[in-house]
């Protein structure tokens, strides 16, 4: 009989788990719309900023990049700063582990090439994962929310620029950003992009140049920091939406699995119960036969 009771308990516990995963999936579904809208709303700002900065940078001779603005200087990379972005919480499939795995692989590869890396970790999962792997952390932050995003991006970028210029700590020669892009409901893509130095645009520049007021270098100096912030902000919007989408998918899968498990366990439970009843009947009949005899 103990076996039957165990099975009953087991089914009960899986049912409770299913309630939790189903609720988490519904919460994610409700939040996803808002996050997706934020990604869409932020796109014109990021796109326009990128176009303007590219048109400003495109006219600059590669040899004069460093003179045009310190953040454009292409140096041989000896030390690199990697900004890593994950979520604060787990239970969202491979969302966090993909980022951490990609980061560690990148750092090892760089180490083999003789490049030292330090990391700014955004999101509690990145902090925990990288600390566990004994990676040098320059700074740690909580994951961005739609409210804290702009202020956080300013803080991180001003730190990154200081590192690039060598005004605080050891100077880094490049700043990279590892984050999840929100591709669709079902997929996220891990990006490992160069933030600094500012990259020259791929395509040739077209169109007439506007009047620059006061002049190109002043505008460039004013916008380089903002444009870098904008890149990070876009990544943050994507990361937030991707996290929610990943959680939704993971929790849906967990709910389905729980349903399957309950069905299997119920089948076993019913079979056991029937076996117990049959056994009892056999005993009774056997007893009655013996009395007759």
């Amino acid at each position: 009989m103990a076996n039957l009771k165990e099975l009953r308990n087991r089914i009960g516990s899986v049912k409770n788990t299913r309630k939790i995963t189903a609720a988490m999936s519904q919460i994610a579904a409700a939040r996803l719309r808002k996050a997706q809208d934020a990604v869409t709303a932020a796109k014109p700002y990021g796109d326009r900023m990128r176009e303007v900065i590219e048109s400003l940078v495109a006219g600059i001779d590669p040899a004069e990049r460093a003179a045009a603005h310190p953040l454009l200087e292409l140096r041989p990379v000896k030390r690199e700063l990697v900004i890593v972005m994950t979520a604060d919480r787990g239970l969202c499939g491979g969302f966090n582990s993909n980022i951490i795995r990609a980061t560690l692989a990148w750092i090892n590869q760089r180490k083999a090439e003789g490049v030292e890396c330090e990391v700014i970790a955004i999101g509690k999962k990145a902090v925990a994962g990288l600390r566990h792997a004994k990676v040098e952390l320059r700074a740690t932050h909580d994951a961005p929310t739609l409210v804290s995003l702009v202020a956080l991006s300013k803080q991180v970028i001003s730190d990154a620029i200081a590192a690039f210029n060598g005004t605080s700590g050891a100077r880094v020669d490049a700043v990279r950003l590892v984050f999840n892009e929100f591709v669709s409901m079902l997929s996220q893509k891990v990006h490992n992009d160069v933030l600094l130095p500012l990259q020259p645009p791929d395509g040739a520049q077209a169109g007439r140049e506007p009047t620059y007021e006061p002049d190109r270098p002043t505008i460039l100096a004013h916008l380089v920091g903002l444009a870098t912030e904008a890149r990070l902000q876009q990544a943050m919007f994507n990361s937030i939406a991707a996290e929610i989408a990943a959680r939704r998918v993971a929790m849906d899968a967990a709910t389905d699995n729980a349903t399957d498990m309950i069905a299997d366990l119920t089948l076993v439970y019913n079979r056991e119960r029937q076996a117990a009843i049959t056994k009892e009947l056999m005993e009774i009949i056997g007893g009655a036969e013996a009395l007759k005899g």
């Binding site: 700002y45 303007v52 903002l226």
Partner: protein
């Protein structure tokens, strides 16, 4: 393309605050001082510093506090104000801004590090933004 109005976009990371509205003109805090854009302006790109943007929307005069960014005038009579932050009069909490401004100023007093150190830049940037908000609710 009209001779009497321009199309104004105000873009921020949190979305478009105004999207292609028709205005007779717009005043923007440029890096060289206040700057007005009227219809048939030549194409222009200039830096925007924290301050107040003014324009007329229908019969309503609108004032917005903005952060850093740029102003772009395109030949087709389209004007883009792209800034990292925007606040309306209703959104500014004067007491909170004043309190925060006090903190920021105190920190800047103590901070004797290099001018382009990350923390200093961030503080100076925040001070400019807070002062822009104060100017918005000043009158």
């Amino acid at each position: 393309m009209s001779d009497t109005s321009i199309k104004l976009d105000i873009l921020t990371p949190m979305g478009a605050i105004r999207d292609g509205i028709d205005v007779p003109g717009v005043e923007v805090p440029g890096v060289l001082g206040e700057l007005g854009v009227l219809p048939r302006h030549e194409s222009l790109l200039t830096a925007v510093v924290p301050g107040i943007v003014r324009f007329r929307e229908g019969v309503q005069a609108v004032r917005l506090a903005v952060g850093s960014g740029f102003l772009e005038v395109k030949e087709a009579g389209r004007v883009i104000v792209l800034v990292d932050r925007v606040a309306t009069v209703e959104q500014v909490d004067r007491a909170a801004v004043l309190a925060r401004l006090g903190e920021v100023k105190a920190q800047l007093e103590v901070d004797k590090g290099p001018i382009d150190a990350g923390a200093h830049r961030a503080l100076a940037d925040e001070r400019a933004w807070l002062e822009a908000q104060l100017r918005l609710v000043a009158n």
